[in-house]
Protein backbone atom coordinates (compact mmCIF):
# COMPACT_ATOMS: atom_id res chain seq x y z
CA UNK A 1 0.00 0.00 0.00
CA UNK A 2 1.26 3.45 -0.90
CA UNK A 3 2.10 5.81 1.97
CA UNK A 4 2.11 9.59 1.82
CA UNK A 5 3.86 11.38 4.66
CA UNK A 6 2.96 14.99 5.44
CA UNK A 7 5.48 16.75 7.66
CA UNK A 8 3.89 19.65 9.50
CA UNK A 9 0.32 19.52 10.81
CA UNK A 10 -0.75 23.13 10.45
CA UNK A 11 -3.34 24.55 8.10
CA UNK A 12 -1.43 23.47 4.99
CA UNK A 13 -0.75 19.94 6.23
CA UNK A 14 -4.34 19.49 7.36
CA UNK A 15 -5.79 20.71 4.07
CA UNK A 16 -3.43 18.46 2.14
CA UNK A 17 -4.48 15.39 4.16
CA UNK A 18 -8.13 16.27 3.64
CA UNK A 19 -7.57 16.71 -0.10
CA UNK A 20 -5.80 13.36 -0.49
CA UNK A 21 -8.87 11.62 0.92
CA UNK A 22 -11.36 13.83 -0.91
CA UNK A 23 -9.59 12.90 -4.17
CA UNK A 24 -10.00 9.22 -3.39
CA UNK A 25 -6.51 8.28 -2.30
CA UNK A 26 -6.91 5.02 -0.37
CA UNK A 27 -3.32 4.46 0.69
CA UNK A 28 -1.88 5.38 4.04
CA UNK A 29 -1.76 9.05 5.06
CA UNK A 30 0.56 10.02 7.92
CA UNK A 31 0.37 13.60 9.22
CA UNK A 32 3.15 14.44 11.66
CA UNK A 33 3.45 17.80 13.40
CA UNK A 34 5.39 19.06 16.39
CA UNK A 35 2.46 20.83 18.05
CA UNK A 36 0.30 19.02 20.56
CA UNK A 37 -2.86 20.10 18.76
CA UNK A 38 -4.56 18.83 15.66
CA UNK A 39 -4.42 21.24 12.68
CA UNK A 40 -5.91 24.66 13.25
CA UNK A 41 -6.09 28.09 11.63
CA UNK A 42 -3.83 30.74 13.09
CA UNK A 43 -5.67 34.02 12.40
CA UNK A 44 -7.65 33.76 15.66
CA UNK A 45 -4.45 33.62 17.75
CA UNK A 46 -3.98 37.40 17.68
CA UNK A 47 -7.67 38.13 18.05
CA UNK A 48 -10.43 36.06 19.68
CA UNK A 49 -8.00 33.87 21.62
CA UNK A 50 -6.79 37.03 23.35
CA UNK A 51 -10.12 38.82 23.74
CA UNK A 52 -12.64 36.05 24.53
CA UNK A 53 -14.06 36.30 28.04
CA UNK A 54 -13.90 32.63 28.88
CA UNK A 55 -10.67 30.59 29.00
CA UNK A 56 -12.52 27.44 28.04
CA UNK A 57 -14.21 29.02 25.10
CA UNK A 58 -11.50 31.18 23.57
CA UNK A 59 -10.49 28.95 20.67
CA UNK A 60 -12.54 27.15 18.08
CA UNK A 61 -10.59 27.52 14.83
CA UNK A 62 -9.83 23.84 14.35
CA UNK A 63 -9.51 22.83 10.75
CA UNK A 64 -11.61 19.71 11.30
CA UNK A 65 -13.74 18.10 13.95
CA UNK A 66 -11.85 15.97 16.47
CA UNK A 67 -13.05 12.68 14.95
CA UNK A 68 -12.14 13.71 11.39
CA UNK A 69 -8.71 12.07 11.38
CA UNK A 70 -9.91 8.73 12.65
CA UNK A 71 -12.94 8.73 10.40
CA UNK A 72 -10.77 9.45 7.37
CA UNK A 73 -7.98 7.07 8.41
CA UNK A 74 -5.45 9.86 8.66
CA UNK A 75 -2.69 8.92 11.06
CA UNK A 76 -2.11 12.22 12.87
CA UNK A 77 1.00 12.08 15.06
CA UNK A 78 1.93 14.86 17.48
CA UNK A 79 5.67 14.48 17.06
CA UNK A 80 8.35 16.21 15.07
CA UNK A 81 10.35 14.69 12.26
CA UNK A 82 14.03 14.87 13.18
CA UNK A 83 15.58 13.13 10.20
CA UNK A 84 14.47 12.80 6.64
CA UNK A 85 16.27 10.31 4.42
CA UNK A 86 15.48 11.29 0.86
CA UNK A 87 17.13 8.31 -0.80
CA UNK A 88 15.53 5.63 1.32
CA UNK A 89 12.32 7.57 1.84
CA UNK A 90 12.19 7.18 5.56
CA UNK A 91 11.58 9.71 8.30
CA UNK A 92 12.60 9.42 11.92
CA UNK A 93 10.48 11.02 14.60
CA UNK A 94 11.75 12.46 17.87
CA UNK A 95 10.20 9.47 19.63
CA UNK A 96 12.50 7.22 17.58
CA UNK A 97 9.72 5.84 15.44
CA UNK A 98 10.65 5.40 11.81
CA UNK A 99 8.19 5.88 8.97
CA UNK A 100 8.73 4.61 5.45
CA UNK A 101 6.86 6.42 2.70
CA UNK A 102 6.46 6.70 -1.05
CA UNK A 103 5.83 10.43 -1.32
CA UNK A 104 6.35 13.27 1.09
CA UNK A 105 4.83 16.73 1.47
CA UNK A 106 6.67 19.25 3.62
CA UNK A 107 4.41 21.84 5.25
CA UNK A 108 6.57 22.87 8.17
CA UNK A 109 5.47 26.52 8.05
CA UNK A 110 7.44 29.18 9.82
CA UNK A 111 8.47 30.38 13.22
CA UNK A 112 8.40 33.81 14.81
CA UNK A 113 11.52 35.83 14.18
CA UNK A 114 13.16 36.84 17.44
CA UNK A 115 15.14 39.88 18.45
CA UNK A 116 18.78 39.07 18.98
CA UNK A 117 19.45 39.06 22.70
CA UNK A 118 15.75 39.08 23.59
CA UNK A 119 14.58 35.51 24.13
CA UNK A 120 11.01 34.64 25.07
CA UNK A 121 10.58 34.89 28.81
CA UNK A 122 7.95 35.56 31.43
CA UNK A 123 7.46 39.05 30.07
CA UNK A 124 8.65 38.79 26.47
CA UNK A 125 6.52 36.89 23.99
CA UNK A 126 6.28 35.96 20.34
CA UNK A 127 3.01 34.86 18.82
CA UNK A 128 2.89 31.98 16.42
CA UNK A 129 1.28 28.92 18.00
CA UNK A 130 -1.84 28.31 20.05
CA UNK A 131 0.46 27.67 23.00
CA UNK A 132 2.10 31.09 22.47
CA UNK A 133 -1.31 32.74 22.32
CA UNK A 134 -2.47 31.07 25.52
CA UNK A 135 0.68 32.26 27.29
CA UNK A 136 0.07 35.83 26.09
CA UNK A 137 -3.58 35.56 27.10
CA UNK A 138 -2.53 34.57 30.59
CA UNK A 139 -0.02 37.41 30.81
CA UNK A 140 -2.65 39.96 29.74
CA UNK A 141 -4.63 39.34 32.90
CA UNK A 142 -4.04 42.33 35.18
CA UNK A 143 -1.42 43.87 32.86
CA UNK A 144 -1.62 47.63 32.36
CA UNK A 145 0.95 48.25 29.63
CA UNK A 146 2.48 46.44 26.70
CA UNK A 147 5.04 47.34 24.08
CA UNK A 148 4.61 45.80 20.65
CA UNK A 149 7.83 45.55 18.69
CA UNK A 150 6.89 45.68 15.01
CA UNK A 151 3.93 47.48 13.43
CA UNK A 152 3.09 44.82 10.85
CA UNK A 153 -0.21 42.98 10.52
CA UNK A 154 0.39 40.70 13.51
CA UNK A 155 1.61 43.52 15.76
CA UNK A 156 -1.34 45.72 14.85
CA UNK A 157 -3.87 42.93 15.36
CA UNK A 158 -2.37 42.24 18.74
CA UNK A 159 -2.48 45.99 19.55
CA UNK A 160 -6.20 46.10 18.76
CA UNK A 161 -6.81 43.05 20.96
CA UNK A 162 -4.83 44.54 23.84
CA UNK A 163 -6.81 47.80 23.57
CA UNK A 164 -10.03 45.78 23.67
CA UNK A 165 -8.83 44.56 27.06
CA UNK A 166 -8.02 48.06 28.26
CA UNK A 167 -4.23 47.66 28.21
CA UNK A 168 -2.08 50.69 27.30
CA UNK A 169 -0.36 49.88 24.01
CA UNK A 170 2.83 51.34 22.53
CA UNK A 171 3.84 50.14 19.08
CA UNK A 172 7.54 50.45 18.30
CA UNK A 173 8.14 50.39 14.55
CA UNK A 174 11.43 50.88 12.72
CA UNK A 175 9.81 52.24 9.56
CA UNK A 176 8.55 55.78 9.17
CA UNK A 177 5.10 54.51 8.23
CA UNK A 178 3.14 51.37 9.00
CA UNK A 179 3.28 48.51 6.51
CA UNK A 180 5.18 50.52 3.99
CA UNK A 181 5.47 47.72 1.45
CA UNK A 182 2.03 46.21 1.90
CA UNK A 183 -0.26 49.26 2.02
CA UNK A 184 -0.66 52.42 -0.02
CA UNK A 185 0.61 55.37 2.01
CA UNK A 186 -2.80 56.98 2.14
CA UNK A 187 -4.37 53.92 3.71
CA UNK A 188 -1.43 53.30 6.00
CA UNK A 189 -2.12 56.70 7.54
CA UNK A 190 -5.82 55.96 7.88
CA UNK A 191 -5.00 52.73 9.67
CA UNK A 192 -2.63 54.51 12.04
CA UNK A 193 -5.35 57.08 12.79
CA UNK A 194 -7.79 54.26 13.49
CA UNK A 195 -5.37 52.86 16.06
CA UNK A 196 -4.65 56.27 17.57
CA UNK A 197 -8.36 56.91 17.96
CA UNK A 198 -8.48 53.66 19.86
CA UNK A 199 -5.71 54.82 22.18
CA UNK A 200 -2.61 53.20 20.66
CA UNK A 201 0.62 55.18 20.87
CA UNK A 202 3.13 54.83 18.04
CA UNK A 203 6.88 55.27 18.02
CA UNK A 204 7.77 55.33 14.32
CA UNK A 205 11.31 55.34 13.02
CA UNK A 206 12.18 53.87 16.39
CA UNK A 207 14.79 51.23 17.02
CA UNK A 208 14.97 48.98 20.02
CA UNK A 209 18.46 49.12 21.51
CA UNK A 210 18.10 46.86 24.50
CA UNK A 211 15.61 45.26 26.81
CA UNK A 212 16.14 44.59 30.48
CA UNK A 213 13.95 42.05 32.16
CA UNK A 214 12.85 42.77 35.71
CA UNK A 215 10.71 40.90 38.18
CA UNK A 216 7.48 42.58 37.16
CA UNK A 217 8.14 43.78 33.64
CA UNK A 218 10.66 44.88 31.02
CA UNK A 219 12.48 48.17 30.52
CA UNK A 220 13.10 49.01 26.90
CA UNK A 221 15.73 51.35 25.65
CA UNK A 222 14.61 52.78 22.32
CA UNK A 223 16.60 55.04 19.99
CA UNK A 224 16.93 57.94 19.89
CA UNK A 225 16.29 58.63 23.58
CA UNK A 226 13.49 56.69 25.25
CA UNK A 227 13.77 54.41 28.24
CA UNK A 228 10.47 53.06 29.42
CA UNK A 229 9.11 50.22 31.49
CA UNK A 230 6.29 47.97 30.28
CA UNK A 231 4.47 45.12 31.99
CA UNK A 232 5.22 42.92 29.01
CA UNK A 233 6.48 42.95 25.42
CA UNK A 234 5.22 41.25 22.29
CA UNK A 235 7.77 40.84 19.52
CA UNK A 236 6.08 40.75 16.11
CA UNK A 237 8.84 41.33 13.57
CA UNK A 238 7.94 38.68 11.03
CA UNK A 239 8.53 35.01 10.55
CA UNK A 240 11.24 32.74 9.26
CA UNK A 241 10.57 29.63 7.20
CA UNK A 242 11.14 26.23 8.79
CA UNK A 243 13.48 24.82 6.18
CA UNK A 244 16.22 23.23 8.29
CA UNK A 245 14.92 19.67 7.93
CA UNK A 246 14.60 20.03 4.15
CA UNK A 247 18.04 21.60 3.87
CA UNK A 248 19.65 18.90 6.00
CA UNK A 249 18.14 16.23 3.76
CA UNK A 250 19.63 17.81 0.66
CA UNK A 251 16.63 19.61 -0.82
CA UNK A 252 17.28 22.99 -2.44
CA UNK A 253 16.45 25.80 -0.02
CA UNK A 254 17.04 29.53 0.37
CA UNK A 255 14.39 31.70 1.98
CA UNK A 256 12.22 28.59 2.15
CA UNK A 257 12.10 25.27 0.36
CA UNK A 258 12.34 25.73 -3.37
CA UNK A 259 9.45 24.29 -5.40
CA UNK A 260 8.20 24.70 -8.95
CA UNK A 261 4.67 25.75 -9.91
CA UNK A 262 3.58 22.14 -9.32
CA UNK A 263 4.87 22.31 -5.72
CA UNK A 264 7.69 19.83 -6.48
CA UNK A 265 10.96 20.27 -4.62
CA UNK A 266 14.37 19.43 -6.06
CA UNK A 267 13.94 15.76 -5.05
CA UNK A 268 11.61 13.43 -6.94
CA UNK A 269 8.53 12.55 -4.89
CA UNK A 270 9.05 15.39 -2.41
CA UNK A 271 6.72 18.38 -2.38
CA UNK A 272 6.37 21.48 -0.25
CA UNK A 273 3.58 24.00 0.34
CA UNK A 274 2.51 26.85 2.59
CA UNK A 275 4.61 29.37 4.51
CA UNK A 276 7.78 27.31 4.07
CA UNK A 277 7.57 26.99 0.28
CA UNK A 278 9.43 29.34 -2.03
CA UNK A 279 7.83 29.21 -5.48
CA UNK A 280 8.06 31.03 -8.84
CA UNK A 281 5.42 33.72 -8.90
CA UNK A 282 3.70 35.46 -11.77
CA UNK A 283 4.84 35.92 -15.37
CA UNK A 284 8.31 36.93 -14.24
CA UNK A 285 8.56 33.71 -12.18
CA UNK A 286 10.39 35.54 -9.44
CA UNK A 287 10.81 33.42 -6.33
CA UNK A 288 8.89 34.31 -3.20
CA UNK A 289 7.07 32.88 -0.23
CA UNK A 290 3.56 33.94 0.69
CA UNK A 291 2.78 33.93 4.36
CA UNK A 292 -0.97 33.88 4.23
CA UNK A 293 -4.00 31.87 5.15
CA UNK A 294 -4.96 31.62 1.49
CA UNK A 295 -1.55 30.34 0.43
CA UNK A 296 -1.43 27.73 3.20
CA UNK A 297 -4.74 26.36 2.06
CA UNK A 298 -4.57 26.64 -1.71
CA UNK A 299 -0.97 25.66 -2.33
CA UNK A 300 -1.40 22.60 -0.12
CA UNK A 301 -4.48 21.53 -2.07
CA UNK A 302 -2.57 21.86 -5.37
CA UNK A 303 0.38 19.91 -3.96
CA UNK A 304 -1.88 17.09 -2.75
CA UNK A 305 -3.60 16.78 -6.12
CA UNK A 306 -0.28 16.69 -7.95
CA UNK A 307 0.98 14.00 -5.59
CA UNK A 308 -1.93 11.88 -6.81
CA UNK A 309 -0.90 12.27 -10.44
CA UNK A 310 -2.70 15.41 -11.55
CA UNK A 311 -0.82 18.25 -13.19
CA UNK A 312 -2.13 21.44 -11.60
CA UNK A 313 -0.17 24.66 -11.59
CA UNK A 314 -0.21 26.92 -8.58
CA UNK A 315 -0.78 30.45 -9.85
CA UNK A 316 -2.32 32.43 -7.03
CA UNK A 317 -3.74 35.93 -6.96
CA UNK A 318 -2.33 36.95 -3.60
CA UNK A 319 -5.14 37.78 -1.21
CA UNK A 320 -4.63 38.80 2.40
CA UNK A 321 -6.88 39.99 5.13
CA UNK A 322 -6.53 41.44 8.59
CA UNK A 323 -9.11 42.18 11.28
CA UNK A 324 -8.48 45.17 13.53
CA UNK A 325 -11.21 46.69 15.71
CA UNK A 326 -14.37 46.74 13.59
CA UNK A 327 -12.43 46.70 10.30
CA UNK A 328 -12.01 43.67 8.08
CA UNK A 329 -9.33 44.80 5.63
CA UNK A 330 -8.75 42.69 2.53
CA UNK A 331 -6.04 43.14 -0.05
CA UNK A 332 -5.85 41.68 -3.55
CA UNK A 333 -2.68 41.63 -5.59
CA UNK A 334 0.71 42.88 -4.52
CA UNK A 335 1.79 46.46 -4.15
CA UNK A 336 5.09 45.80 -5.86
CA UNK A 337 5.00 47.97 -8.95
CA UNK A 338 4.19 51.56 -9.82
CA UNK A 339 0.58 52.69 -9.59
CA UNK A 340 -0.33 55.61 -11.80
CA UNK A 341 -3.85 56.22 -10.55
CA UNK A 342 -5.80 55.52 -7.38
CA UNK A 343 -9.57 55.23 -7.48
CA UNK A 344 -11.69 54.92 -4.38
CA UNK A 345 -15.30 53.90 -4.03
CA UNK A 346 -16.01 54.97 -0.51
CA UNK A 347 -19.29 54.36 1.25
CA UNK A 348 -17.93 55.63 4.56
CA UNK A 349 -14.63 55.70 6.45
CA UNK A 350 -15.58 52.20 7.64
CA UNK A 351 -16.55 50.82 4.27
CA UNK A 352 -14.54 51.43 1.15
CA UNK A 353 -12.80 49.98 -1.87
CA UNK A 354 -9.48 51.44 -2.98
CA UNK A 355 -8.03 50.42 -6.33
CA UNK A 356 -4.60 51.05 -7.81
CA UNK A 357 -4.38 51.19 -11.61
CA UNK A 358 -1.47 50.88 -13.97
CA UNK A 359 -2.13 51.51 -17.66
CA UNK A 360 -5.88 51.33 -16.99
CA UNK A 361 -5.75 47.89 -15.40
CA UNK A 362 -6.35 47.28 -11.68
CA UNK A 363 -3.18 45.82 -10.20
CA UNK A 364 -4.00 46.11 -6.51
CA UNK A 365 -7.14 46.63 -4.47
CA UNK A 366 -7.90 47.08 -0.82
CA UNK A 367 -11.30 46.83 0.83
CA UNK A 368 -12.46 47.85 4.29
CA UNK A 369 -15.55 45.89 5.34
CA UNK A 370 -16.24 45.34 1.68
CA UNK A 371 -15.07 41.83 0.79
CA UNK A 372 -17.97 41.23 -1.58
CA UNK A 373 -17.03 44.22 -3.76
CA UNK A 374 -13.37 43.22 -3.71
CA UNK A 375 -14.40 39.80 -4.92
CA UNK A 376 -16.41 41.37 -7.73
CA UNK A 377 -13.25 42.80 -9.29
CA UNK A 378 -11.04 39.75 -8.77
CA UNK A 379 -11.11 38.60 -12.36
CA UNK A 380 -10.34 42.14 -13.55
CA UNK A 381 -7.20 42.06 -11.41
CA UNK A 382 -6.23 38.50 -12.30
CA UNK A 383 -6.54 39.05 -16.03
CA UNK A 384 -5.21 42.64 -15.99
CA UNK A 385 -8.33 43.66 -17.88
CA UNK A 386 -8.47 47.17 -19.33
CA UNK A 387 -11.12 49.19 -17.51
CA UNK A 388 -12.60 52.64 -17.94
CA UNK A 389 -11.35 54.61 -14.94
CA UNK A 390 -14.34 56.96 -15.10
CA UNK A 391 -16.80 54.11 -14.88
CA UNK A 392 -14.78 52.59 -12.07
CA UNK A 393 -14.95 55.84 -10.13
CA UNK A 394 -18.69 56.26 -10.71
CA UNK A 395 -20.62 54.93 -7.71
CA UNK A 396 -23.67 54.60 -9.96
CA UNK A 397 -21.89 51.93 -12.00
CA UNK A 398 -22.04 48.50 -10.43
CA UNK A 399 -18.74 46.65 -10.37
CA UNK A 400 -20.47 43.45 -11.40
CA UNK A 401 -21.72 45.15 -14.55
CA UNK A 402 -18.27 46.43 -15.32
CA UNK A 403 -16.84 42.98 -14.84
CA UNK A 404 -19.49 41.44 -17.08
CA UNK A 405 -18.91 43.98 -19.83
CA UNK A 406 -15.20 43.40 -19.70
CA UNK A 407 -15.67 39.68 -20.19
CA UNK A 408 -18.59 39.62 -22.60
Amino acid sequence: METILIIGAGQAGGRAAETLRAQGFDGSVVLAGDEQHRPYERPALSKTVLTAADDNDCFSAWLHSSDFYETNKIDWIADSVELLDVRHRTATLQSGRSIGFDKCLITTGGRARRLPGTPDSGHVFTLRTLQDAMRVRTRMVGARSVAVIGGGFLGLEFAASARARGIDVTVVEAGEQLLERALPREFSERLRTKHEQNGVRFMLGAKLISSTEEASGVTLSIAPNVSERFDFVVVAIGQEPNEALARASGLTTGNGIHVDTHCRTSADGFYAAGDCANFPFGVSARRLRLESWQNAQDQAIVAARNMLGESVEYRPSPWFWTDQYDWNVQMLGMLDGPVDQWIERQTSIDKTLLMGLRNNAITYALAVNNGGELRAIRRLVEQATQVDPEALADPGVKLRQLERQAHS
Partner: protein, 101 residues
Protein backbone atom coordinates in the same frame (compact mmCIF):
# COMPACT_ATOMS: atom_id res chain seq x y z
CA UNK B 1 -43.36 25.18 10.12
CA UNK B 2 -45.03 28.35 8.98
CA UNK B 3 -44.58 30.61 6.00
CA UNK B 4 -43.32 34.00 6.99
CA UNK B 5 -42.82 37.20 5.06
CA UNK B 6 -39.17 37.85 4.21
CA UNK B 7 -39.09 40.53 1.51
CA UNK B 8 -40.89 42.06 -1.43
CA UNK B 9 -39.89 40.32 -4.62
CA UNK B 10 -39.34 43.65 -6.34
CA UNK B 11 -36.58 44.48 -3.83
CA UNK B 12 -34.45 41.54 -4.97
CA UNK B 13 -31.89 42.10 -7.72
CA UNK B 14 -30.00 39.61 -9.81
CA UNK B 15 -26.42 39.19 -8.50
CA UNK B 16 -27.24 40.86 -5.19
CA UNK B 17 -27.94 38.73 -2.15
CA UNK B 18 -30.55 40.24 0.15
CA UNK B 19 -30.50 40.16 3.95
CA UNK B 20 -33.79 39.53 5.74
CA UNK B 21 -34.42 39.14 9.44
CA UNK B 22 -37.44 37.18 10.58
CA UNK B 23 -37.72 37.24 14.36
CA UNK B 24 -34.25 36.12 15.47
CA UNK B 25 -33.56 34.29 12.25
CA UNK B 26 -31.06 35.81 9.83
CA UNK B 27 -31.84 34.82 6.26
CA UNK B 28 -30.17 35.53 2.95
CA UNK B 29 -32.26 35.59 -0.22
CA UNK B 30 -30.94 35.06 -3.72
CA UNK B 31 -32.50 35.63 -7.12
CA UNK B 32 -31.06 33.10 -9.55
CA UNK B 33 -32.47 32.48 -13.04
CA UNK B 34 -35.83 33.94 -12.02
CA UNK B 35 -36.15 31.76 -8.91
CA UNK B 36 -35.73 32.88 -5.31
CA UNK B 37 -33.67 30.79 -2.89
CA UNK B 38 -33.09 31.26 0.82
CA UNK B 39 -30.29 30.16 3.15
CA UNK B 40 -29.26 31.00 6.65
CA UNK B 41 -27.26 34.21 6.45
CA UNK B 42 -24.32 33.31 8.71
CA UNK B 43 -21.42 31.35 7.23
CA UNK B 44 -20.78 27.93 8.78
CA UNK B 45 -17.04 28.63 9.02
CA UNK B 46 -16.81 31.87 11.00
CA UNK B 47 -19.12 34.77 11.65
CA UNK B 48 -19.83 36.63 8.43
CA UNK B 49 -23.01 37.52 6.60
CA UNK B 50 -23.40 35.76 3.27
CA UNK B 51 -25.62 38.64 2.13
CA UNK B 52 -22.41 40.72 1.97
CA UNK B 53 -20.84 38.07 -0.25
CA UNK B 54 -20.51 37.40 -3.94
CA UNK B 55 -23.25 35.57 -5.84
CA UNK B 56 -22.36 33.83 -9.08
CA UNK B 57 -23.67 30.83 -10.99
CA UNK B 58 -26.04 29.92 -8.18
CA UNK B 59 -23.24 29.91 -5.59
CA UNK B 60 -22.76 32.34 -2.74
CA UNK B 61 -19.20 33.11 -1.73
CA UNK B 62 -18.56 34.31 1.82
CA UNK B 63 -17.09 37.84 2.01
CA UNK B 64 -14.56 36.85 4.69
CA UNK B 65 -12.78 33.74 3.43
CA UNK B 66 -14.37 32.97 0.07
CA UNK B 67 -15.91 29.69 1.18
CA UNK B 68 -18.69 28.77 -1.24
CA UNK B 69 -22.20 27.32 -0.90
CA UNK B 70 -24.75 26.17 -3.48
CA UNK B 71 -27.76 28.38 -2.70
CA UNK B 72 -30.20 25.74 -3.95
CA UNK B 73 -28.97 22.83 -1.82
CA UNK B 74 -26.83 24.54 0.82
CA UNK B 75 -23.91 22.23 -0.05
CA UNK B 76 -20.45 23.42 1.00
CA UNK B 77 -18.44 23.60 -2.22
CA UNK B 78 -14.87 24.52 -1.34
CA UNK B 79 -12.45 25.11 1.50
CA UNK B 80 -12.59 26.51 4.09
CA UNK B 81 -16.25 25.60 4.46
CA UNK B 82 -17.08 21.98 5.13
CA UNK B 83 -20.48 22.13 6.84
CA UNK B 84 -23.47 22.89 4.59
CA UNK B 85 -25.55 26.00 5.12
CA UNK B 86 -29.19 25.60 6.11
CA UNK B 87 -31.66 26.24 3.30
CA UNK B 88 -35.31 27.24 3.54
CA UNK B 89 -38.30 26.61 1.33
CA UNK B 90 -39.48 29.70 -0.47
CA UNK B 91 -42.88 30.59 -1.91
CA UNK B 92 -43.84 33.72 -3.78
CA UNK B 93 -47.29 35.05 -2.86
CA UNK B 94 -48.60 38.17 -4.55
CA UNK B 95 -45.15 39.70 -4.96
CA UNK B 96 -44.05 38.73 -1.46
CA UNK B 97 -41.17 36.33 -0.77
CA UNK B 98 -42.39 33.92 1.90
CA UNK B 99 -39.91 31.66 3.73
CA UNK B 100 -40.84 28.48 5.58
CA UNK B 101 -39.54 28.55 9.14
Amino acid sequence: MTLQFAANLEDLNVDEPYAATIGNEQIALYLVDGEVYATHNVCTHQFALLSDGFLEDGCIECPLHQGKFDVKTGAALCAPVTAPIRTYKVQIEKGAVMVEL
